[in-house]
Symmetry: C2
Subunit: 403 residues, 2 copies
């Protein structure tokens, strides 16, 4: 069996943890498995390097930043191979050049294009554990690139796909994917299984267990993922295509407090106004999430939307700068103390009652809904932030997710 195992920066933050990971991988190796390990940079090393760069040049080019950041993973893989060696198991570390991890040239946010597996297979055939730098690649110009935060998950999935691995295990500091954030909903339950689509909705809602692109890639190449804890041996959550078992109506409840609502009232109701508004925001790298456009009243209309809270000031400044020229309106307002609460479930596609049940639960709990958005397998409501926990618990209870 060929297994790809990915460990994040926290799991290799110091000597003790490096040896824990080494032992865990060696257990697998001693069962006769071929083991590929993908690592992130140690602890907060990426942030340390970013700070060094910022100190030298706050506007450093992404190309040079990637040249700097990629030293982080190279350090962890070399130390890991040394640790495994010292435990008597042959190991070899490989960086993006050695694997030939081809990516686009979008420094800081590159996408994997192709992975050569020759060297990895050679090392595996020689019964070595292969320890590979996550997060990094090389462009067609032979320059180092990085895949963006959380990119090591994507590296692991891509390697699993390229090597036709039998398993791809993503180790993290939680036991798996839960029906809700256990810090928010006390009786949240670990899921045994979840579909790629559900995981994608949860990841984009900020559940933060898996990097979104890694799930997309896993879905595309049919790589079955396991999310599990690096701290204990609990079975994790399997992420895969829909199983034959009855589809879960709702798999989980997600909450997200990093959100702000912006209302633009009394906009001229003429073609192109909404386009201009969102164009201005896009020009300033502001991603817009839930959008609500009112029906016309008296020749004007209102547009309401959400952005992440950390981009909300940029968004407001941008809009105000254009308020007198291209964006004539009566009023602009921002509310920061809001939160999103979502239910996600592959089963809701064929069951129209989910939204109604969610709204009922919120009503019963006295939570007012400010805005609604839905996808095929998700219903999201925007509420006052102070009700986040109450709302999540109420919805969790309504769908009996603890069972």
């Amino acid at each position: 069996m060929l297994v790809v195992k990915k460990f994040g920066g926290t799991s290799v933050a110091n000597k003790e943890r490096i040896f824990n990971v080494a032992k865990r991988c060696i257990e697998d190796y001693k069962k006769g498995n071929q083991v590929v390990v993908v690592l992130s940079a140690m602890g907060k090393q990426t942030d340390v390097l970013l700070d060094m760069a910022k100190d030298i040049n706050p506007k450093a080019s992404r190309r040079e930043l990637d040249m700097l950041l990629t030293t982080g993973e190279q350090t962890s893989v070399a130390l890991m191979a040394m640790a495994m060696d010292s435990l008597g198991v042959p190991a070899v570390s490989l960086n993006a050049f050695q694997v030939a991890m081809h990516t686009t040239a979008d420094y800081g946010n590159a996408r994997l294009k192709k992975i050569d597996t020759e060297r990895i297979k050679f090392e595996l055939d020689n019964r070595r554990i292969v320890v590979i730098t996550g997060f990094q690649g090389i462009s067609k110009y032979d320059d180092l690139t990085t895949l963006g935060r959380g990119g090591s998950d994507t590296t692991a999935v891509a390697l699993a796909a390229a090597l036709h691995a039998d398993a791809c295990e993503i180790y993290t500091d939680v036991d798996g994917v839960f029906t809700a954030d256990p810090r928010v909903v006390s009786n949240a339950r670990k899921l045994d299984e979840i579909t790629y689509d559900e995981m994608l909705e949860l990841a984009s809602l900020g559940a933060g267990v898996l990097h979104n692109r890694s799930v997309e890639m896993a879905k595309k190449y049919g790589v079955q993922l396991v999310v599990r804890s690096s701290l204990n041996t609990t079975e994790g959550t399997v992420v895969k295509e829909e199983s034959k078992m009855e589809k879960m109506l709702v798999s989980g409840v997600a909450t997200d407090k990093n959100v702000a609502q912006i209302a633009v009232e009394g906009l001229e109701n003429k073609p192109g106004v909404a386009f201009k508004l969102f164009q201005h925001l896009a020009n300033h790298q502001v991603n817009v999430d839930m959008i609500l456009q009112s029906v016309e009243h008296g020749g004007t209309q209102d547009i309401c939307f959400t952005v992440t809270e950390d981009m909300s000031d940029v968004a407001m400044e941008t809009l105000k700068r254009h308020a007198d020229t291209s964006l004539k309106c009566e009023k602009m307002a921002i509310v920061k103390d809001v939160a999103k609460v979502s239910v996600v479930g592959a089963g809701m596609m064929s069951n129209p009652g989910v939204a109604a049940k969610m709204f009922e639960a919120l009503y019963d709990a006295g939570v007012n809904i400010r805005q609604i958005s839905t996808s095929e397998i998700r219903v999201t409501v925007l509420i006052d932030q102070k009700y986040t926990e109450v709302a999540a618990q109420a919805v969790h209870d309504a769908f009996a997710l603890e069972k």
Copy 2:
């Protein structure tokens, strides 16, 4: 003009120094020159990484050590390119993979085989300063290698040779090559010129300004070196083939306290005994320097030799282990408080009076000579360590090197 400039770890140890180096390189660039910069790892970073490795696995493989150590130079070149960029000059950093710095696979002590210049020339043609990792290379297996301590000098010379550079400047923390160590001989004088051969003798005598292999390579490819200070703009010392000017009888006096003398007395005088003795030492990586073999007396002979002091205990243990079997002798003794004092000069080849003049100066200064060795352009004496400074000054005076 194409210039290769090499700066050591001290010169890039912090932000301020990085910017000093950046400005220095930019001055050259703004004169219209093409500038290639070779850097070592920042400050004591190589030692920091070695300590990390030691903590994980004291017997870490050289292959993994090199994987770890090479992150050091990659960090400095990325930061340097960022610094240059922030000063408004386009720069690009390149590591051993990107340059394609081919070496042997002798991890930790690899030798450069071939350098691809395509990428460097492309960047230079685009008017960028090219900042290259010193000390490192890649083997035919695509593994990272290091060239051994001081290897960045060799990288710089090799690049200068491959690029047919007009100048190769080695920046250091002293003003150039001196007639003697200024800390030992107060009126030591900076040399304007020195030949490759003299520099080689001085380097191997521990003068420590240039890495020996870099001088060998410079001689082989006719790369004219300049050794100069990174702290000021003093003209440095040019290292080159003999000039047309009159050969210096003596260029400098070198001292070396890292030495111990071992005497093996009453050895059987039969063929193969000396061979066995030095074979045992070679098997334990002990390099032997000055060797003195006595004439036979009463069927036995004595052998006296020097080793570096840090290897002297290993040498003695090795010899004692074989004293009863293959190395029958009457007595083994070691003296650690000795030192070597040497005079070096390309002119002495054609002038036999140098040794005599040196011995006379030492006699006048009351310094006893324990052992003598010579090469074509060098005379070395072994003396009691406490007389090192007295001897160096006496010899320096005798040849009027201060003038």
